[in-house]
Symmetry: C2
């Protein structure tokens, strides 16, 4: 139970949050940990389908995810979460709910890179005027001042990013 943590990846759409989160979840499981994966898209299709994309609704989106993470954590199950969490208030809410048990990991990639990747075709849809509130384009993304860690997905491979994360936690917990 003591080694259970919440790993909260945040950043722009296309920055690589889900890819890193999936890879970290696999890594933790291979080390014998119980892991719950929480993802923004997954939750918007289920528990959060009553919520929109205003700053307030994004805050409620993040609050619910953090509360689920908390009850999982209390039962010794680690959580790997991927949410855009665009504003400082969103990250502060996560910290407020989870305290010292959360690692906030800023997944950094430039908006130009994210547009080029456009894995879900969302940047294209936005350019065609089909999405009104789109983080980094028509809605704010506030670069974090207080993340536990920053990972650039422009500079390193997925495996190298995960190695970097595992190394940092090991040093912190040594």
């Amino acid at each position: 139970m003591e080694k259970a943590y919440v790993y909260w990846f945040f950043g722009l759409s296309g920055s690589g949050k889900s890819t890193l989160a999936d890879a970290l979840a696999l890594r933790l499981k291979s080390l014998g940990e119980q892991v719950l994966r929480l993802d923004g898209d997954q939750m918007r299709a289920g528990i959060n389908k009553d919520l929109g994309f205003s700053s307030q609704d994004r805050l409620e989106n993040v609050r619910r995810a953090a509360e689920i993470a908390k009850l999982s954590l209390e039962q010794g199950i680690s959580v790997v979460a991927s949410f855009i969490s665009p504003e400082d208030i969103h990250r502060r809410k996560v910290k407020e709910v989870l305290g010292a048990k959360v690692h906030l990991i800023f997944v950094d990639a430039s908006i130009e890179t994210c547009k080029l990747r456009d894995v879900k075709g969302l940047y294209q849809q936005q350019a065609q005027g089909n999405i009104s509130s789109f983080t980094g384009v028509s809605a704010p993304f506030e670069k974090p001042m207080d993340a536990s860690m920053r990972i650039s997905t422009e500079e390193s491979s997925v495996e190298a990013c995960i190695d970097q994360i595992m190394k940092q936690w090991k040093e912190q917990n040594a």
Copy 2:
């Protein structure tokens, strides 16, 4: 993943839902299963603290719990849930979200027995006029027509109830 299920205990306050759910969770863990425990009180202190006790809010309470159970289930983690779920619409919502993967277990004890037990002192508070919407007294509890199973906590010990549940699932899944 195939053997992951949701075990959803429902019934009056004081019927023994949480006691049975805790015992079943322990039993499943001892068999090597990963288990998440979800409880009404626990969720009302966290993710559901924005909700009250109207029929509508109780439905949203149950919907969120069922959605959390679903995402846990999809990752091979069984869920043991204890919620009053007083009306048929609440149980139908659980079925709607979770389909064939949920076992609805009606924890049956008479209101007289529950009042005598009054573990949380809630029936006394209600009698003193401090609780306006109290299931079985001033708010409805609809006896289920369609539970997967009924367990009487007036007739059997906790261990005997758990044995009965395990036996029934084994037969169903044989």
